[in-house]
Chain length 413, copies 2
């Protein structure tokens, strides 16, 4: 018994038509007409399977199939259908369509099970139109307040609640999911690790913690001509020295720590003026909260040392701190077993990016499955995954879901 | 016999009223109403001294006093009256007013001399309103073309030639100076060297050469989360490493080389995106052309090495190259002698910034005299020089001018 790879492939390219861009990516931003059309196609498939479809007060769509015991918590799996502008057709969509395929396989094989199963499609995961990412999952798990979400505005000043009504997907609060036996999300990796390793499956043990700091060095703007270098208080030189030292230190650690200096502004930003003020950001990541905090402390220490050596003044401001999320060790082990049984090559890893699973982890045992992204490209029209990997990923999802729902009449051999 | 310090002081504060700002600086931009009023005051003083006043085709003002032999080339001295917006009252003005004081002292003491003398006031030295600096001196020394200068526009689209006509200072080409026995410019240092050394006089041996390079590193923009550091092509890290290496190298040289990274732009400039492209400028200075070129070559070599190590692509573009100017060794020696005779503390140095003297050097032997700037501040309302230093600087100018014009009836003792 196995999933129908041809059917999955066909549905995938049917969905990829909706919001299709010139270079065969997709622009299907949350709560736009394209999103509505995508949701309608998705619901058409769900209806054929005779699933019980619910829409909650944030437009998240759930499709439920009862097991032998409706009082048990459901096994939930899925992802999102929205994209970034000129994004790829795999991101999010793959997880939703693989979930539909898994349930169709269960239905057509008449697989009996105890636990209810639910497919889910979350609203505005990308944070592209409404700038808060994982909005649908964040709202139902209590991370984001309803009033806050409803009043969020897009670039044209359209509130979330109005856009949600406009596409006809404002449902009821009682349709949310509140407790899950397991939440499972299949997603593309969005990075190069699996592709470079030649592994088919990424078993995601958790999501890295992220610390964002904004660092400012204030010195003194001076004429680049008459001011000797030894007498300057050059804010940019302080910033360069600090960033270089931090980067060298993290590179030597050779562990999961990563650091990125993504933004920088130099003032007054004139060729022949010694910069008087420089601001840059430090994005630090590590899967372990204690270690991440140690890393943050060390970065601060380096910045303070540089500031005292260069006679410039430093200011460090925390922009954001997202705690690491650890997924279910039991589910990670289950996936390893399935991979071993089927001969699927895998690599256990942490996700560097946020996903709906990060919040769903609050409602029950959670895990994610990654499939490789070709050359690590994502959020762009060139985004691609190989179909052999997608089939194995979907098959793995199928087997894991069957185990979790307590299916008692299937045989994969 | 000595200059009248009280008269110089009074005139200085009379001129400082014209374009005076709230914090007692001046805004007297070239060819504005304030510039016209300043010129009129200047000419009033010149007329009292019965000097022969000329205005050339760029609004440069010359005031001549004949010596015993009118066929000899003149000794020319002066500076400029225009300022930057919210600039200081000393920059430029000091050199013009000191020149008036020197000639008045010569007149009232009936000092006889062989060579003609000429006070000069140049148009638009600052390049603040018309963005080309040293515009008046550049035009009459053949560096800048007349058509180019006349058509230059300010931020309001007003052409130089129209602004010049508007204030009534469009003169004739034959009024330019074309050959000088000596050109001498007294100016504030605009940097901290003399003030920090406690020296009264800066003997300027020349003006440093300046190379401006624009450096671009192109790598690949990636998500800061899923992309491991070792697999990135981080353009900002390349730029940081290059700038740090260049800065360390120049700092170790401990010679007159200076380097400044004044401008930087990071793309896409988002906290959690690995920068795909970074551009920064390198301002390199040295008084010796050959050494400056060696420094430029070394900077390029460092950038190329970093690019190959970091797998990013580099591009280096020369924005500007201003050759160093060496002033007259004879005049430098004359100043040293006068300082020694009078017990004036001095420091021989190069100017890091451009001045009209840079171009006037093409017409004959040239030298500059600096007086200290308090805390090295200039081009700001806080700009200040101590009056004891100003008097000694003006006295030095007086003595040097007397020697150069072949005065034969003065005695400084």
């Amino acid at each position: 018994m196995e999933i129908n790879s041809k059917r999955l492939h066909q549905r995938f390219y049917q969905m990829a038509e909706i919001g299709k861009t010139e270079k065969k990516g997709v622009s299907r931003l949350a709560l736009t007409k394209e999103d509505r059309v995508g949701r309608e196609l998705f619901i058409k498939w769900l209806k054929k399977l005779k699933l019980n479809i619910r829409v909650d007060d944030f437009g998240n769509i759930f499709a439920r199939k009862e097991g032998s015991n409706p009082s048990l918590p459901p096994v939930v799996f899925g992802s999102h259908l929205d994209s970034v502008p000129n994004g790829g057709k795999f991101d999010g969509t793959l997880g939703v369509l693989a979930a539909v395929e898994v349930v169709e396989t269960i239905c057509e094989n008449n697989i009996q099970h105890d636990f209810p199963l639910e497919i889910v499609m979350f609203t505005n995961e990308e944070g592209a139109r409404y700038t808060q990412p994982m909005l649908g999952s964040g709202a139902i798990t209590g991370v984001l307040q309803k009033e806050y979400v409803y009043q969020l505005k897009d670039d044209n000043g359209i509130a979330f609640i109005d856009a949600l009504k406009e596409i006809g997907y404002l449902g009821n609060q009682e349709n949310r999911v509140s407790k899950v036996k397991a939440f499972i999300e299949l997603h593309i990796e969005q990075g190069p690790v699996l592709f470079d390793k030649g592994a088919t499956i990424g078993i995601v043990k958790g999501i890295q913690g992220i610390s964002w700091q904004k660092v400012t060095f204030a010195g003194q703007a001076d004429h680049a001509g008459p001011t000797p270098m030894a007498q300057r208080k050059d804010a940019f030189v302080s910033a360069i020295k600090a960033m270089d030292k931090i980067h060298r230190w993290v590179s030597k650690l050779k562990d999961e720590t990563s650091v990125t200096f993504g933004k920088c502004s130099v003032s007054p930003n004139v060729v022949n003026v010694v910069p008087g003020q420089v601001t840059f950001t430090v994005d630090l990541r590590h899967p372990n909260k204690k270690i991440l905090n140690q890393r943050v402390d060390k970065v601060k220490e380096i910045i303070l040392t540089i500031a005292s050596h260069t006679e410039t003044e430093e200011q460090i401001e925390e922009i954001s701190f997202m705690e690491p999320v650890l997924f279910s060790e039991r589910l990670v082990k289950e996936i390893e077993n399935i991979c071993d049984e089927n001969g699927y090559s895998y690599h256990a890893m942490f996700s560097g990016a946020g996903h709906d699973a990060m919040y769903m982890n609050r409602l029950g045992e959670t895990v994610m499955i990654f499939v490789p992204s070709v050359d690590g490209k994502s959020h762009c029209e060139e985004e691609e995954s190989l179909w052999k990997d997608i089939y194995q990923g979907t098959d793995l999802l199928f087997q894991l879901v069957c185990k979790e729902i307590g299916a008692y009449s299937y045989d994969f051999k």
